[in-house]
């Protein structure tokens, strides 16, 4: 999994992202680790994802590009804050790892997984989905160009199939 995550990090760097806001997810672990160890980036750990929506808007007001990393359950925490994006036409790039779909063990993840694309689109956010590793770089690059080139709000959903099964019980 770290291979496409490293390439994803390179895409963010190439697009001059300077602030990386996140609520952690295992699927973003490598990206967060790289962001935290890069002196040109500011990694910002959040208490809730809606802070990240506000933070990336503040970064843009100050002339910097930022990205928000979260998992699908976090989308529900953001809904009212998303109104900033359409009201002010802020560029917005979110990378969202999906839970609650492919081979999910935890039923509590499922409702928000089903709601995630619907909620995003209902708030005016364009949704791209990646299901295969070979498409990650191109999709995120395209999302970044659309967001920062056209002042659009764009979310890239990284499918659970791409991230892989979570091991709940280790075999002995």
């Amino acid at each position: 999994m770290t291979d496409w995550q490293d390439r994803l990090f390179d895409v963010l760097k190439a697009n001059r992202i300077r602030q990386v806001a996140f609520v952690p997810d295992a699927g973003h672990a490598r990206l967060i680790e790289r962001a935290e160890s890069d002196p040109d980036l500011r990694a910002v750990v959040l208490t809730t994802e809606e802070e990240g929506v506000a933070l990336v808007c503040g970064a843009w007001l100050g002339g910097e590009r930022a990205v928000l990393l979260m998992q699908s359950s976090g989308v529900g925490n953001c809904v009212n804050m998303f109104s900033l994006l359409s009201n002010c036409r802020f560029p917005f790039l979110a990378l969202i790892t999906m839970r609650g779909e492919w081979a999910e063990f935890n039923p509590w993840q499922v409702p928000m997984a089903k709601a995630t694309p619907v909620v995003l689109e209902s708030m005016g956010i364009t949704v791209f989905r990646v299901t295969e590793a070979k498409d990650v770089v191109d999709t995120v690059q395209s999302a970044a160009e659309l967001a920062f080139g056209s002042d659009q709000a764009v979310a890239v959903l990284l499918s659970q199939r791409l991230i892989g099964r979570k091991t709940w019980i280790s075999e002995k």
């Binding site: 300077r18 602030q19 806001a21 500011r42 910002v44 750990v45 959040l46 208490t47 809730t48 809606e50 802070e51 990240g52 929506v53 506000a54 933070l55 990336v56 808007c57 503040g58 970064a59 843009w60 007001l61 100050g62 002339g63 910097e64 930022a66 009212n80 804050m81 109104s83 900033l84 009201n87 002010c88 036409r89 802020f90 056209s150 002042d151």
Partner: protein, 200 residues
């Protein structure tokens, strides 16, 4: 159950306080939380480097954080009310971790939700936002209930020597509305243009 009784008549005049603060902070980039804080800021004199919120409740401090990290050479002021900051209370922890030296959060605390009928807020019932900010690792905090403390607050804000939170006790009173522009695209674009950034 009240730990502390707060009279609506206690506190400073919010318009006087904000006018005095802004007169001393000509350089600051300012984000105003929705409701009365935005009206106070607008009444003190509109400027391109004011960003007024009309919604996104709880977002002012986090916007200020993103702005402060992007503009480390400029003082950033988040001017908001107790209700707005209570909704964004987690952002105080996030700011405490980042410690931007140029960010100051000023809470105009009337201990009530002024926009919705003056219901009492948590700060009327014992919650201290100064205490929360201190516990979150802010470099400095100050509780203000005298006008003479406003000029020193402005000096501290402009010095950019650490992230701070000031709570200013203001009266819970209705003051005449002074309504800032509510076109978000306009507010964003003129703010960025004033900093020299291109629009789309």
């Amino acid at each position: 159950m009240d730990k502390r009784e707060v009279s609506k008549d206690d506190g400073l005049d919010r318009r006087v306080v904000v006018a005095r603060l802004m007169a001393e902070c000509a350089d600051a980039l300012v984000v105003a939380g929705l409701g009365s804080a935005g009206y106070d800021l607008f009444a003190a004199g509109d400027r391109s480097l004011n960003f007024y919120l009309w919604g996104a409740m709880g977002g002012a401090a986090a916007i200020g954080l993103g702005l402060a990290l992007a503009q480390p050479q400029r003082p950033v002021l988040v001017l908001t009310g107790d209700g707005e900051q209570l909704m964004g209370i987690g952002a105080l922890a996030t700011i405490g971790v980042q410690q931007p030296r140029n960010l100051t959060v000023v809470v105009l605390d009337n201990a009530h939700f002024g926009e919705t009928g003056m219901q009492r807020s948590h700060t009327a019932m014992g919650v201290s936002l100064v205490g929360v900010a201190a516990a979150c690792g802010f470099d400095w905090t100050v509780d203000i209930d005298e006008e003479s403390a406003i000029a020193p607050l402005a000096t501290r804000l402009e010095a950019m020597q650490g992230c701070g939170l000031a709570r200013i006790r203001v009266r819970a009173e209705e003051v005449p509305r002074a309504l800032p522009p509510r076109d978000g695209v306009f507010l964003k674009t003129r703010f960025r243009a004033a900093l020299g950034f291109p629009t789309i």
